[in-house]
Point group: C2
Chain length 194, copies 2
DNA sequence: GAGTCCTAGCTAACTCGTTAGTTAGTCTAC
DNA sequence: GTAGACTAACTAACGAGTTAGCTAGGACTC
């Protein structure tokens, strides 16, 4: 056999690292705690991953990939997309925190991957919205996309607004999702200009 | 004279601490760096503020107070309010990061202050929106308020979306502010239900 | 089929720079 | 000569990263 059970150990480390980084960020995370939670020796972290930093980068990339895999973008159903993003964000609070930490603690990160995904979505939205334009243009796709993401994640664990300010709303995800979808529909139909 | 120039030193420490915490968070901040930036001895930090944690809490409270002081809430002009929040967020990237760090690193923080502000705004919105309701109710004020904040700050330095994904938009604040105002107007006018 | 070597997977214990927090004392003005 | 503002130097612990070595089992030799 090629690998023995080292792959299982790696997986356990990545899982423990995800939890630790999600809870404490890069600077606050403790390598010893990760090793203990993974039930293995600290040195293995340095054998399998080179440093705390690269371990974080690995965890982040692995989890970002999950986002892109699980969230299909539907340019012709933006409210539905927002609802799915909302569900995903509520179902994965740890992942949302991880992304927030990365945004604060890392300079740039893997801009390439994210920019490609962004451009693809913008292009798809432009293609889907070539129907008639009345007086005043629609809001720009690039703007609309960010607005959708901001709205859909405003009640996630990583947001300073939603869950902290109105815990009552966050406790009722179904109506919250409906309200987000309604709001996105309103923005998508909105026209700018006089 | 009562105080000598210790007040000036305290102010320099708070300023240096704001910058350090804003850049690195609580766990990543270094007390020695703060002292050096403030041009004073490290021990003074512990004399004037008790610990790193309470220094952070002091910095946060002082700056949150600025937010509440400088941002007048206008329930009858929500797009205008959103535009002002946007301007404030763009003008104070360090403060936005500070709030983001606080949300991630602290358990609860000063819930009382924020909850009071939130309730006051919700009540003001309800009072301002007692005109006729057509078929389908308006979106709940509590929801609308969080949505506005999420939209208005989506391009701030602390957001994982706006500035990182579409730096082009962030470079043109005037149209961005207009788009945010339009979007908020659309949501505020939106009705929910069938 | 016993002895020896080798490798993958793993661990205990260590190093050493860093860091929050402290102590003891200096200096200046009144 | 005392009190307020401040400093240099210290301490104790922590924490990332390292070293040296253990153990099980396969394989190869005779």
């Amino acid at each position: 056999m090629a690998t023995g059970n080292s792959e299982a150990t790696k997986a356990r480390i990545l899982e423990a690292a995800r939890d630790e980084f999600s809870a404490h960020g890069i600077a606050g995370a403790r390598v010893d705690r990760i090793a203990k939670a993974a039930g293995c020796n600290k040195n293995l972290l340095y054998i399998y991953f080179q440093s705390k930093e690269t371990l974080f980068a690995t965890v982040l990339e692995q989890n970002l990939r999950r986002v892109y895999d699980e969230l299909r973008f539907t340019p012709d159903d933006l409210p539905g997309y927002a609802a799915r993003v909302f569900d995903f964000a509520m179902a994965n609070p740890g992942l949302m925190r991880l992304m927030a930490w990365a945004g604060l603690e890392q300079e740039a990160g893997d801009v390439a991957l994210r920019n490609a995904a962004q451009s693809a979505k913008v292009a798809a939205m432009e293609a889907a919205a070539h129907d008639a334009d009345g007086p005043g243009a629609r809001l720009a796709p690039e703007f609309l996309l960010t607005a959708i993401l901001a709205l859909a994640t405003a009640w996630s664990a990583a947001s300073p607004f939603g869950p902290r300010l109105s815990p009552g709303l966050a406790a009722d995800p179904a109506t919250l999702r409906a309200q987000i979808a309604d709001a996105v529909a309103a923005i998508a139909a909105a026209r700018t200009g006089p």
